[in-house]
């Protein structure tokens, strides 16, 4: 499937150990910035009951969902620990602080 890159802003727009959300035709996407200044993008939708992951606490390379404390890996989108579930990860790139995410062009055409 074709990928389309979209600029979403600068890395400083996201607090360290924090997240922002981006509205897209694919739904809300969470963009996370870790203490080590890495960035990740995953769907803003907890595999448990759909909690908004961007509202959780970011620690290491994971986020804890604000609704029932599932811990989701930002790298793989998988629930860690005893819970099972996965959210979709979204390709993201950081070019000198400018962030872009890749969306599926098929969906865009449909919009």
């Amino acid at each position: 499937m074709d990928m389309n890159w979209h600029q979403i802003g600068r890395i400083e727009d996201i607090p360290l150990r924090g997240a922002r959300c981006v509205s897209t035709p694919q739904g809300k996407i969470g963009v996370f910035r870790t203490a080590e200044n890495e960035v990740f993008a995953i769907e803003d939708h907890c595999p448990h009951k759909g909690g908004p992951l961007t509202q959780g606490i970011v620690h290491g390379k994971a986020v804890t969902c604000p609704l029932h404390n599932w811990v989701i890996s930002l790298e793989t989108g998988k629930a860690l620990g005893a819970d099972a579930g996965v959210v979709k990860t979204i390709p993201i790139r950081n070019e000198n602080g400018v962030l872009s995410i890749a969306l599926e062009s098929l969906l865009m055409a449909a919009e």
Binding site: G18, T24, K49, T64, M108
Partner: protein, 816 residues
Amino acid sequence: MTEKLVIIGNGMAPGRMLEHLFEKAPGTYQVTIFNAEPRVNYDRIMLSPVLSGEKDYEEIIIHGDGWYIKHGITLYKGHKIVEIDRTRKTVTSDHGVTESYDRLVIATGSVPFIIPVPGKDLRGVITYRDLDDVQAMLLAAQSREKAVVIGGGLLGLEAAAGLASRGMDVTVLHVMPTLMERQLDPAAGYLLQKAVEERGIKVICKANTKAIVGDGKVEGIELDDGRIIPATLVVMAVGIRPSVGLAKDAGLAINRGIVVDHGMQTSDGSIMALGECAEVDGQVYGLVAPLYEMARVAASHLSGDRSASFVHSDTPTKLKVTGIELFSLGDFTDGDDREEIVLRDASAGIYKRLVLKENRIIGTVLYGETSDGAWFNDLKKKATDISEMRETLIFGQAYQGGSPLDPMAAVAALPDDAEICGCNGVCKGKITSTITAKGLTSLDEVRAHTKASASCGSCTGLVEQLMTLTLGDTYSPAAVQPMCGCTELGHDDVRRLIKAKGLKAIPAVMQELEWKTSCGCAKCRPALNYYLVCDWPDEYADDYQSRFINERVHANIQKDGTYSVVPRMWGGVTNANELRTIADVVDKFEIPLVKVTGGQRIDLLGIEKEDLPAVWADLGQAGFVSGQAYAKGLRTVKTCVGSNWCRFGTQDSTGLGIRIEKFMWGSWTPAKLKLAVSGCPRNCAEATCKDIGVICVDSGFEIHFAGAAGLDIKGTEVLGLVRTEDEALEHIVALTQMYREQARYLERIYKWAKRIGLDEIRRQIMDDADKRKAYYASFVFSQKFAQVDPWSERVSGKDKHEFKPMATVGFSQAAE
């Protein structure tokens, strides 16, 4: 008829003696105590943790004022006895009080030795013996200047570590070649010196003090070799001398100490002596274990049982400096008839040495890893022949019998008569049998009933292991329950260390306390953030990224990701203007649900996050501030209409509730805090299931606390009755502050109270006015930084990023 018992000195030895006496023969004596120190009996051993900030003075009190009242004891605080008249059987204090006695007990302890060098009387030269010395050191430490400690023994090193942790630049001068040479061999002394130096303390051994120099006050120390070491504070910790002057003037037999027989009897049949001032068989003592043995014997004799006889025993020495583990026991000098076993692990900083004579342990030095101390002590005491396990002996108990055992098994394997608590001479069997017989479930109870780990506290770990062994899974030791997977430390340790080490940021806590993860997790970060906010209100910068979403955006997240908003209605009172504003906001933002809460507030549910600042802006126009319905902090003060309206009302409960809420809003607490004030015992505001509640009565205000009406249901406990509204406010605020400072994160007040003990809370808040006022002042101070309305801050732009998406992308050009 009751006899008159007079005691000179109110230290740890006579305190223990009285406990035994009241148990054995209550009511036999009318007791009067004279104490030169102006205070009750406290745990002198724990002065070092007070100096370093790991404990408060209140926590080390052994007998509070109430204890003396309960036992009908007259305690003259700050009265030094200057004369004993043995013919008239009276004692006289320096304030002119004369008291007659039938039996007299001398327990004057020791005085610190002052080396007779020029300048010893300069201002800034102090010793280390009592609370006054600690307070003098704390005052001097505020300057953060240079301090010199003369003496590299137990006391000197504890003083040095305490002063260093208070920010002073400390040098220790020690006359011998290695530190603590009386308890440690040179190898362990070397390791100790390294550890002390790693704490930033300079150590100079073989240092002979020639003079203390300065003009009116200390400016430095001059050594034999001409070196001058600058200092504004000099602590002399070079040893102690039994305090015998008074007994000597009275003509009692004196040697190094006051000479007593095995029944603690002096040369005068009506006078006994015990504690550090007493000498038995030519021996004087400087550790509490033998003094407690004296106390047991003296109490027996006073109660008429003359069979009790003092038995000498070796006491292990431990240093109470956080992070330095050392244990020393018995005799470890070299000798032809002796052999030794040594184990060293340089990388781990471990050194262990056993000295054997005829296949029996006679001395033990452990440095770096001391958990086998109890076992070696037991082998030594019983003179066990160790030839069978000689090869593996030094590896400790866990290695005996093949494969290594876990620490729990090691404790399980100890015999019943193995000594666990050295200070109080409590053996394993006593602890386990008391736990079972009395149904004890907490460490504090075990301390209360057996005294194990109640003095210097260094055997706490062992006692907890015994509790786990005895109680199985029903006991989860507080100290062993880590905060979360990121650390081995429990909440209490973390709170203590944050204060003791002056840690003022989350990364500092994680670094210093050796967190196992790089940036914590969703369990520890909010807890640490709270502890830091609470402990350093003026200095700590709140870390929003470590707060749960509700506290970050100041609204309550709902299951669908929308938010609910609760404006504050002081005391649950509102008016037409406020209600109109709320109605307009509901219409304007099409808020789907408006609901009245259990805390007498109005809840607006289903608001989109992006709309929050606009909703708050409109609410703010009517004067609303955040109701903090999301906070681990002060939530609501619920009230009834009280004497203003109700025919039963005794006081203005509404007014008091509003006053409390206006005073306390904005404060962060370990868990949510809900209050209520009812105007009479009919209790329409349901104050008796709240965290803190007030029931107004004709004579004043009955303050309640520790109720619960959530997962658990529990009626409140009574804190006490106060007369005026001002007092009610002061007590409630002080109680809240005590809870803020002590509880674990997310621990509601009723759970904390159960853990700490209701009596302890009443003692600090109701009985101890100074303590109460200090808590009150701390709360008031922190409110200066906390009482900022988070909604209006956000209306004016703070944290904008929280409420807007970062971007909107990917929708087709046309649609955009």
